[in-house]
């Protein structure tokens, strides 16, 4: 499945999607490459979450195609679909840990469903995954017994249960304080470092965007498509579209670029 290292991991071709009769995104095309951290950004209501729901198969697109490792997800039958579902994990905005199960059961359910591992092996993997996210020993806790940051970590552990090649994140630092949010970012980078995981992150947390993103794509509700694409720092410095500048330069999180002390840089922040 992962033979050609240069081939895109995910390829979206002229995707049109929405709800009922409302078109949210129109004729969207982009590709994600292996080991890449791609941020999908844009203001509220621009279709970020809709795109995510399409990518993970919860929403059927009106037109167009989504392909994972060159295989169409949109046209897949039940068996192929299951195979593709195995290749990615999803971290939901509200964590979506199954509240009636312990953390161990939460993490081992995907393993139970998709592998033929024995109970003892599964338990070991669960322990390993929990250690990886810094929750060692909390196998028998229920999600409600954890704090928000810990729930987020547990949800990440579950998303990583099958060692997926791709992980989708829906607002990973939403509702976390800046310190825990930074820890979460570190965890994400660490996972990428260790497993070479491709990551697609829907977020509008500027600090995370500049810390993590290899590339961002920015959506806009008026054009119903991508209005900017590139490395965030470069976009912030060079893009002339006021919508892009407004978004990327709204805060003071802009990283200091040592070799650039022109007046333009400071203008960007104050604008």
């Amino acid at each position: 499945m992962k033979n050609d290292p240069t081939a895109p991991v995910i390829e979206v071709k002229s995707l049109t999607c929405g709800y009922g009769e409302t078109v949210v995104l129109q004729n969207l095309s982009f590709a994600v490459h292996a080991r890449e951290v791609l941020f999908v950004i844009g203001g509220s209501g621009c279709g970020k979450s809709t795109l995510l729901r399409c990518l993970i198969g919860l929403l059927k697109p009106f037109h167009g195609d989504i392909a994972y490792f060159g295989k169409s997800f949109t046209a897949a039958d039940t068996g192929q679909r299951r195979d593709i579902l195995k290749t990615f994990g999803v971290l939901y905005q509200n964590n979506a840990l199954w509240s009636s199960m312990t953390l161990a059961e939460n993490i081992s359910l995907p393993l139970e469903e998709h592998t033929s591992l024995s109970r003892a092996d599964r338990a070991e993997i669960v322990a390993l995954k929990l250690t990886e996210v810094g929750l060692a020993g909390s196998e028998d806790l229920y999600p409600s017994e954890l704090s928000g940051g810990m729930q987020k970590r547990a949800a990440l552990a579950r998303a990583l249960a099958l060692d997926p090649a791709i992980v989708f994140f829906d607002e990973p630092s939403e509702g976390l304080d800046p310190i825990i949010s930074r820890e979460m970012d570190q965890l994400i980078l660490q996972v990428r470092e260790n497993f070479g995981t491709t990551m697609i992150i829907v977020s509008h947390q500027l600090s995370s965007i500049f810390r993590l993103a290899d590339r961002v794509i920015m959506l806009n509700p008026e054009t119903k498509g991508i209005i900017a694409e590139g490395v965030p720092a470069e976009l912030a410095a060079t893009n002339t579209d006021p919508r892009v500048r407004d978004f990327l330069c709204q805060g003071k999180d802009l990283p200091k670029r040592p070799n650039e002390n022109s007046t333009e840089g400071s203008n960007l922040i104050t604008k």
Partner: protein
């Protein structure tokens, strides 16, 4: 404050407020001077009081010793501008401070354009068609969910080891434990009421012993199963909807789907099976309690010995009567489980959505129970059992 009184034409300077206003009309132009402090909490002059029914081709508003002001002044200016637009006069506010002009400029002259909303329903015909569409959607939802469940059930039947038996058992236990007190109380009381009401009539003909027949037959064939089903619909069906609805809101159902687990197989089927299996057991229990209720009234009020009552019941109520009732119960259970799970899984993603789903689960459940009962009444009648 005193100078507002001195001008000849119109002056509406309020004596209490510090807000001041002088209006003078000359040659078609109305000059309005505003001054003092304008505060929302204090009485301020109103535009209607300035000109009354007069007209002016030109309204010019100028500041005159204007102090502190807040939204009350902006509101006043908006009113005056609206008046000018209506009476086709020119409105001049250029002399006002810049920030005040900016604020005024933010208010659209013809009122804010409202975003397009759904067209209001006009005729009764349209309303009827709307309701019909809504009901068609409900029916479609129920049928397609039934189809999904059937497909899921066939899949599970091929591989029964994978079925969530533990969840099913836990749900059965919950259903039993939560319904038992209510079922006991209600069926016993139904037996008592039935016996009491019929005894009053039957005693007149010296046929009090037939109370046993009446209570026995109606409880076993209809009321026992119905009462059990209603109570389970209100308790267990509502619990399913609230539980699954909440899981939907928290994206737990999405998380199952993206892990490649069918939420119908994983969540709905164990619950539906649990309530379908529990219902006949609860109904049997309700039957016993109902007959006991009748027995209690007969023994205490009608002086019919318990043994006589029991023999009469045994003579009249046959095994087919009991099994008919219990057979219906399987379908009642199915209806309750389906309604609860369907409403929960199609729940809107909000707190209000969970509430709606819960109440709708109970309503749908009871509706399906009554429909099923009617269908069975016809079938049993045709078959003569």
């Amino acid at each position: 404050m005193s100078k507002s009184q001195s001008l000849p034409e119109v002056s509406t300077g309020d004596k209490v407020a510090t807000a001041q206003l002088q209006a003078a009309a000359a040659g078609g132009e109305c000059l309005v001077k505003i001054g003092g402090d304008w505060r929302l909490n204090d009485p301020v002059p109103s535009w209607a009081g300035v000109l009354g029914k007069r007209t002016a081709a030109n309204v010019r508003i100028v500041p005159d010793d204007l102090g502190n002001w807040d939204t009350s002044l902006v509101l006043f200016l908006v009113h005056s501008r609206a008046w000018c637009v209506e009476s086709k006069s020119d409105f001049h506010a250029e002399a006002l401070p810049e920030n005040l002009q900016t604020l005024l400029g933010q208010v659209p002259v013809n009122g804010a354009a409202k975003p397009a909303t759904k067209a209001a329903v006009k005729s009764g015909w349209e309303l009827a068609s709307l309701i019909a569409t809504k009901w068609a959607l409900h029916v479609k939802q129920i049928v397609s969910f039934l189809g999904e469940c059937t497909l899921g059930f066939i899949g599970e039947a091929k591989n029964p080891r994978r079925f969530r038996w533990l969840d099913c058992l836990v749900e059965m236990q919950q259903c039993w434990a939560s319904s038992l007190p209510m079922v006991s109380l209600v069926s016993f009381l139904v037996g008592v009421i039935l016996a009491f009401q019929s005894a009053v009539q039957l005693q007149q003909f010296g046929a009090a012993i037939y109370v046993a027949d009446l209570v026995g037959l109606s409880v076993v064939r209809e009321l026992g199963p119905m009462m059990a089903a209603f109570i389970v619909a209100g308790g267990t069906g509502a619990r399913f909807a609230a539980q699954l609805g909440n899981m939907k809101v928290d994206e737990e159902i999405d998380a199952l789907e993206t892990v490649g687990i069918s939420s119908v197989n994983f969540l709905a089927l164990p619950r539906i099976l649990a309530v379908t299996l529990m219902m006949p057991i609860l109904a049997l229990y309700a039957n016993v309690l109902g007959i006991l209720g009748g027995m209690f009234v007969s023994a205490t009020m009608l002086n019919i010995p318990v043994s006589a009552y029991w023999i009469e019941t045994q003579n009249r109520v046959g095994v087919p009567d009991v099994t008919n009732g219990l057979l219906k119960c399987l379908f009642f259970g199915l209806a309750v489980g389906l309604a609860g799970c369907l409403r929960g899984m199609k729940c809107e993603r909000s707190a209000a959505g969970v509430g709606t789903a819960t109440s709708s689960a109970v309503v749908t459940g009871i509706l399906l129970i009554v429909l099923a009962d009617a269908v069975f009444a016809v079938i049993f009648n045709v078959l003569g059992i």
